[in-house]
Amino acid sequence: MSIESTHSHEDHTHAADHDDHHDHKPSSLLDRWLFTTNHKDIGTLYLVFSLLMFFIGGSMAMVIRAELFMPGLQLVEPDFFNQMTTMHALIMVFGAVMPAWVGFANWMIPMMIGAPDMALPRMNNWSFWILPFAFAMLLSTLFMDSGGPAAGWTLYPPLSLQSGQNFAFVVFAVHMMGISSIMGSINVIATILNMRAPGMTLLKMPLFVWTWLITAFLLIAVMPVLAGAVTMLLTDHFFGTSFFNAAGGGDPVMFQHIFWFFGHPEVYIMILPAFGVVSEIIPTFARKPLFGYSAMVYATASIAFLSFIVWAHHMFTVGMPLTGELFFMYATMLIAVPTGVKVFNWVSTMWRGSMTFETPMLFAIGFVVLFTIGGLSGLMLAIAAVDLQYHDTYFVVAHFHYVLVPGAVFALMAGAYYWLPKWTGRMYSEKWGKIHFWLSAISVNILFFPQHYLGLAGMPRRIPDYSTQFADFNMISSVGGFIFGASQLIFVGVIVHCVYKSRQTATGRVWEGAKGLEWILSSPPPYHSFNTPPVIDSTTMAHADESH
């Protein structure tokens, strides 16, 4: 399908690109980072940016947990507390997890499919460079008279329509994030469909590539819907429309439908690439091919399809018609089937493998165990009848944090440790990596497990104060939160050490069991990944079913 990309000097007679070929990185900082069209540099920008956002969003979480440490109002005003929960979520979702995955996509996809770079390199630069401006605008609202947005990341009207000055800034920031995501996704799809080395058929692609292909499709399908939803909020607020105003014939619940039509696929946008990363790591350290490769691909596709028809499970309590409740309940439960297939396949991959437990593997196994807990509490929430009790309680908070923190974030950590030696050409400190893992894995459970009980006992979410019966579990949870937060500093330490100090160089293969094209390149890989397309040899691929 694709045409080989051979690079040679004679090819470039155009005046604009005479010098910097092959392995010369641009020398000036501006050229290297601001004007770059290189997938690796852009990947690095995304990853650094998302780490920064992870800490900004994380500090807000620390404020929240500090306030909830004890009953009563201790540290912050209720309105500021609400700003913290809202901003924390917006920043973690749109600023930390999503850009981190785009960073991985940038770094890894061209290497994994044997391409010289991303398909649309200039647009790649723009996708990234919109983000710092978008988040600067979003964060700036905290310094306005009105303070930041405080109606929750879901921006439900009528509450969100009562926001002051900050509102329009938030809406436009969301627009910018959407534009960035859509461009990034278009790039990913074009790269995967058009830039694969000859012989890299679709069903030979690594699972990380597959999951990102499907994620990109989800992003292009739902980000415009979010853009439309916030645009309607904007016009309701400033231009007198009545989309969400019953007096004018609209309906606030309509916003929820539109928002969750975006929102549920959005949660899969954050988790599908995680599935991909874990599916890369487990075979490497179990020294066995991935069990059920094609089942994994089909499961991912089914999850993506189902994610479009389950959105109203977030709205069981709004007074939907009974048929609606039932439909969304059963459809939601159906998602557990392909998800179960995945968990089963990861476990089977490890079954009788000769396993070792380096940091990436630890995080990947942590992911499998803890993500599954989140999936199971999701199933509980999916039962419409009992969700009337659980909805908007800490049980929901526990659920989505299990899927997002030891789910998506652990997979990000796993991927970072896994590919860090490839990216930098040096080994990170295994000792500190392991300390980071164990502290995180233990504290994340201290942090989130008690929240299940709080929710079942009736503690509502998004409140700065609570009844004294909830005191014990909240204190435990906060302690877990502080340990978890502090442990993440170790991660920064490990990265900085690896990049600047580590003296232990990495081989091209890095991990003895690693398979896939990225490992046949040197560590660090050349500035332009595959100038000539590699020869695809089935035995170098990570999965067993190459017989297609």
């Binding site: 770059t36 436009f172 278009i186 009545s242 014939g249 619940v253």
Partner: protein, 289 residues
């Protein structure tokens, strides 16, 4: 083409346009936010941002066009561009789907429920007793006052014919290009541009009529909201599409595009057909039905 790089995927080295685009975008959007909050200088900085964006587009597209005309793009690069455009149009489809969804939801559910159907009985009884669900409506409180709707078989029907006809003219232009009949190419392209702008002109007239004589405004409850949101965004897309066609027409006059290599032309033609199809949806669900 001067096949310089037939077997090489062209990867540009460095570009300043995206960061200029980001600066334009943030200037424009933050100004828009200040503007709706009542700032008096914001309209000017908004304009500045828009100008920066326009400058960026000229620069960026200009560079791409020069590279393309210099034959630096092989078929694989061409395919990337095609995929890019197709998925971009898909994202636009979803954007409109959102507003159509709002229209259908309002008509099928929210208005009916306010009228007491289904689960809405109590709302109707307690809040808006006697409100009868009809379409069009400005809601139980008749926000924005009485209004009349734009008759479908007046200007909107003419506009439908115009857009359908413009779909034909752009296809004729495409055929001419493939046969390398440059004169006819330019002629049909300009015909399409004229039709496009004529559509916009009639749409503006329709809006003036709606505001001044029909009492139909953006504030006319859910009907006015969906009507202006859908037709307004569509009108913006037609305007943009017509400008894109104009650029393509001018490029054609300058001898750009080859019978077998004219992605820019096709991208704009796809976009134009997309705008056309959206209009058919609008005509049926907003005006007629």
């Amino acid at each position: 083409m001067a096949h310089i790089a037939d077997d090489t995927y062209y990867v540009p080295h460095g570009t300043k346009w995206p960061i200029i685009g980001s600066l334009g975008m943030i200037t424009m959007l933050s100004s828009a936010a200040f503007w709706v909050n009542g700032s008096e200088i914001a309209p000017w900085s908004f304009l500045l941002g828009a100008l920066i964006l326009i400058y960026m587009m000229f620069g960026w597209f200009g560079e791409v066009i020069r590279e393309s005309e210099a034959g630096m793009y092989n078929d694989q690069v061409d395919t990337s561009f095609r995929m890019g455009m197709m998925w971009f149009i898909f994202s636009e489809v979803m954007f409109f789907a959102c507003f159509f969804g709002a229209l259908f939801y309002a008509r099928m559910f929210s208005v009916a429920w306010l009228g007491g159907e289904g689960t809405g009985a109590l709302t109707n009884e307690l809040l808006w007793q006697g409100y009868e669900a009809v379409w069009p409506t400005a809601g139980p409180e008749g926000l924005g006052g009485d209004f009349k709707t734009v008759p479908a078989f007046g200007v909107p029907f003419i506009n439908t014919l115009i857009l359908l006809f413009s779909g034909l003219t752009v296809t004729l232009a495409h055929h001419a290009l493939k046969k390398n009949e440059r004169g006819r190419l330019v002629f049909w392209l300009f015909a399409t541009v004229v039709l496009g702008f004529f559509f916009v002109f009639l749409q503006v007239e329709e809006y003036i009529e709606a505001y001044q004589h029909l009492g139909l405004t953006l504030g006319s409850g859910i009907y006015g909201s969906t009507f202006f949101m859908l037709t307004g965004f569509h009108g913006m897309h037609v305007t943009l599409g017509a400008i894109m066609l104009l650029v393509i027409a001018i490029r054609s006059m300058r001898g750009h595009f080859k019978p077998d290599h004219h992605f820019g032309f096709e991208a704009v033609a796809w976009y134009w057909h997309f705008v056309d199809v959206v209009w058919l949806g609008l005509f049926i669900f907003v005006y007629v039905y």
